[in-house]
Amino acid sequence: MTEPILELIDATVIVNQNTPDAKIILQGVNLTIQPGEFITLLGSNGAGKSTLFNVIAGTLPLSSGQIKIAGQDVTQMGATQRTKLLARVFQDPKVGTSPRMTGAENLLLAERRGQRRRLLNRRLTAEKQAHFVNLVNRMGNGLGTRLDMPTGALSGGQRQALSFVMATLSRPEILLLDEHTAALDPKTSQQLMRVTDEQVREQHLTALMITHNLDDALRYGNRLLILHAGQIQADYNGDEKSQLTRNQLLDYFEQY
C-alpha cells in the first residue's frame, strides 16, 4: 500500500458560521487519493464541487477537519505555498494565462510555479523556445506557431491548451481540472480532453476533474465520485467505474 497523495479527513466548510445564515457547504468529507488516480467528479450545481477544489487549493480555509498532501499536513498552509504541490486549470480560458504576455513568457512563469522569483534574467533562450514549441505541438492546435503572440490574441481553445501545458510544466503532485473544457466548442473540447487523458497517463499524474459531461466522466479516468449536498454520495473505483453506464448515472441524478 503506497502512501496516499491526498487525504481529506472530516473536511467541513461552513459559511457565515455562528450567524442565522450559517450554511454547510462541505460536510465531514473523508477522501483518500492514491498516486496516479485520475478522478472524475460529478455533482449538480451547489453540490460543493468547486468548494472542494478551493479547499484543496487552499483558497478557502476549512472550518474544521484536516488536509494532507503527500503525507504533509497542509491545513494551515496558504494557497500561494500550496502551488508548490498542486496546479489548477480553470473553466474560463481568460483566467489561466496572462493576456499581455506571450505564450512563451507565460510558460516561463509557469516553469517556476511555487518557487521564489529571483532578480535574475528570465532567460528565454532559443533552446528554451524550441523546447516550449515541442511541448505545445503535442496539443495539436497550431499553438506552436503562435507562442510569440500575446496570449490575449489566441483563441479560447489555444489559451486553454496553453493553460494545461502551464499547469503540467513543473510536475504537480495533484492536478485540479475545474471543468476545463466546458467553455470550448464540442470539437475543441474533445480534442483537449483526449490530450488531457494522454498527458495524465504518460506523466503518471494524479488528477481530479470536475465535469458536467456524463460521457467524459465515464470515458476518462479510473475513479468516479458523485458529490451531493456537501457529501460524497458515491465512489466508483476501477472495474466498478468501467461497468457504470450513462443511464445509471442519469437515474442517480434523478433522485435529487
Binding site: V95, S98, L108, G114, R117, R118, N121, R122
Partner: protein, 298 residues
Amino acid sequence: MSIIVSAVGQGLIWAMLGLGLYLSFRILNFPDMTVEGTFPLGAAVAVTGISTGMNPVVASLLAAGVGALAGLVTGLLYTKGQIPILLAGILTMTAVYSVNLRTMGQANRSLLGAKTIFNGSLLKHLPENFPTVAVGLVIAVVMVSALAYFLQTELGQAFIATGDNPKMAQAMGINTHNMTILGLMLSNALIAFGGSLVAQNNGFADVNMGLGIIVVALASIIIGEVVFVEDVTLTERLITVVIGSILYRFVLVLVLALGLNANDLNLFSAIILGLALLLPKLRQFFHFDRILLGRRAD
C-alpha cells in the same frame, strides 16, 4: 533654440514621473493618487537636505527612499487593509501633505546659491539649460535601462503577471500582495526622485507643487502611446514615455512663449491629456486616416 534645449532638459527630468506612473497605471492597472503627495515629498526632502548641507546626490537618493516608504503605506492599506486603491492613495497623499510642511518647516523653501546636481563644478561651464539636458540624459538612460532590466527578470515578469491577471499569478504561486507593494514602492520612489530633480532644477520646493501632477505624468505616457501606436516592446515603450514627456514639455514651453498665463497651466495640461486620450475616438469619428492618407471608403 534655447526653448528647444529647455524643453528637452525639462522633459528628461519630468520623465521620471511618467516612468514611475507607468509601473502602477499601465502595469498594475490602477491609478495611484499617492503620487500627488510623493512628488512634493521628494522635493521637500531634497531641498531641506541640501540646504542643511547634505550632498545633492545623497539628498536625491534619500528623496527616492522616502517616496518608497509612502508607496509602502499605500500598498499596505490596499493589499492587507483591503481599502480601495483610490482611497488608499488619497489617504497617503493627504497625510504626506502634512509631512511635507513639517519637513520644510514652511510652505516653500528656496535653494538659493546651494549646490545641486545641476550646478556641479564641471557643469557650470556649460551654456544655459545644457546642464539640465546632460544630467537629465544620464539619469534617463540609467533609469530606463534599470527598469528594462528589472522587467525582464523572473521577479519583474511575476510583477507584470500580477497586474495582467492576478488570479493566474496566484495560481502560479506568485505572492500578488508583495508584487503590488513592490510596484507601488518603486513607482513612488521614481516619482519622489523626479520631485527632487524638479525642485533642484527650479531652485525651490513648494507644498502645492504636487497638484495635478498625476495628469502631467499620465500625459507623457499617453502622448508616447499616441505618437508610437504600433506594437512596441516593453523596453521601447519605456523610451516612448521619455519621448512623450519631452513632447509634452515642448507644447508647454511653446504656449508659455506665446503668452499663456502660468496660472492656466493646469487647465492646459488637462486639455492636452484629454485630447490625447480622445484622439483614437476622434480619429474614428472624423476619419482622419482616410483624409490624411487619401484612402477611399470601401
